[in-house]
């Protein structure tokens, strides 16, 4: 059955200027104008947004859960990327 419900778009909303856009759900729409209007009506009825992005769901590439171990592994043994790795003499300021 094809009801012409359009394609799936993922919706990202920025809640305040300066903040990142955050995923909040999805909408169906036939084209990009309709997608952004639907996103406004569905996800910002209480002024939750200052900006909206809509992205065709099929354009999003994501990591796969089965591989997360090896995929994120390279970062696991690099604790020297965190400031807490370093010893600093007591009493030193602004460091």
């Amino acid at each position: 059955m094809n009801n012409n419900q359009g394609v799936l778009w993922e919706v990202f909303v920025q809640t305040k200027p300066g903040l990142p856009h955050k995923h909040c759900g999805s909408v169906h729409a036939a084209d990009k104008e309709m997608a952004i209007q639907n996103a406004r009506d569905v996800y910002t009825r209480r002024s939750e947004g200052t900006s909206i992005w809509v992205v065709p769901a099929e354009a999003i590439i994501s990591s796969s859960p089965e591989d997360i171990g090896s995929f994120f592994e390279p970062a696991n043994d690099k604790i020297y990327r965190h400031p807490t790795f370093y010893h600093v003499p007591e009493g030193v300021k602004y460091l």
Binding site: N4, Q5, G25, H28, M34
Partner: protein, 312 residues
């Protein structure tokens, strides 16, 4: 990876209280249970627009009309959040709508009762949304990520729904004797069906035990129902209305109310499609969907044309 190992990873996540996300491996029955539950929840939001839509044009003031419009619009939105959460499990929007229209998928039986007077808008907001919120607050901690996130949004938005309903009831209850009688009549008609919204008693609820194990549900039907009674009875007393249950009595020892038994035969009958408005609700949905076909076709045709222009 073989299924036994995947099952172990899944079980460990559930035990730790981790969320399951769309691309994670999950047992077929977990997926099936959630598709059923989320899609029926979505259908309930959509069908739930109908009994209230009945009163938009007859709201007693502009303020009430504005509020009712906003509430019904929210319910449309909530249906959409939930449809999109269900879609992450691999069912299409078309399939879900098809299941609603064919009667294969259910929606909350409460919406098969008619809204006869303005006071029913008060009773629905106060009791029906109140019961729904109690269920949804629990579901904010459900184990499936997209469902949980939809619930957080919905709970935030619905808190006004219950308050506006209680406001309608309290104004009527403090009004003329006729207005108070109208409020009492609405409470009389909606009290028991609202208690049935929590589903069958735990002893005869086939899905509860497994749903609790999977942490889809965090409290049982009977626990939520009792909580609802305990919170709502004092609200009725506060505005001078009487809960229509002759067995209702405060139990000092358990710090909670004892109360009667819902008519489960009526409940099963309404679920089977024999409630006062089952046919009317479903045919209104189907008609709305069919009448909107030309809009969807036009939008698709326009989008195709725009794409051709870009390609040319």
């Amino acid at each position: 990876m073989e299924t036994i190992k995947l099952q172990k990873i899944f079980d460990a996540k559930i035990d730790r209280g981790d969320m399951i996300e769309p691309k994670d491996w999950m047992p077929d029955d977990y997926r099936k249970t959630l598709i059923r539950q989320i899609s029926q929840h979505a259908h309930s939001e959509i069908v739930g627009m109908l009994p209230e839509g009945n009163w938009i044009t007859r709201a007693p003031s502009l303020r009430r009309k504005m509020v009712l419009l906003a509430k019904v619009q929210d319910e449309g939105g909530h249906g959409l959040y939930l449809y999109s959460a269900a879609e992450t499990m691999g069912i299409s929007r078309d399939e879900m709508i098809e299941q609603l229209h064919s009667g294969k998928a259910k929606y909350s039986s409460i919406f098969n009762y008619p809204t006869l007077t303005w006071a029913d808008m008060g009773a629905i907001g106060w009791l029906v949304d109140g019961a729904a919120i109690m269920n949804q607050v629990m579901l904010q901690k459900t184990s499936y990520g997209p469902y949980s996130r939809a619930m957080v949004r919905i709970c935030k938005e619905e808190s006004f729904h219950q308050r506006q309903g209680y406001e309608i009831m309290s104004v009527l209850a403090a009004g003329t004797p006729d207005q108070k009688a109208m409020a009492q009549d609405a409470l009389n008609r909606f009290w028991w069906p609202s208690l049935m919204m929590f589903g069958p008693p735990d002893a005869s609820s086939p899905n509860t035990a497994q749903s609790m194990r999977w942490k889809i549900k965090r409290e049982t039907n009977d626990e939520l129902r009792q909580k609802f009674v305990d919170r709502t009875v004092p609200q009725a007393e506060f505005i001078g209305l009487t809960v229509p249950d002759k067995d209702l009595k405060w139990n000092e020892a358990k710090q909670s109310y004892d109360w009667g038994t819902p008519d489960w035969e009526e409940f099963n009958n309404v679920i089977k499609g024999n409630g006062p408005c089952n046919k009317e609700r479903l045919s209104a949905r189907i008609k709305a969907h069919e009448n909107g076909a030309w809009v969807r076709e036009a939008a698709a045709a326009y989008a195709a044309k725009q794409q051709q222009k870009v390609a040319a």
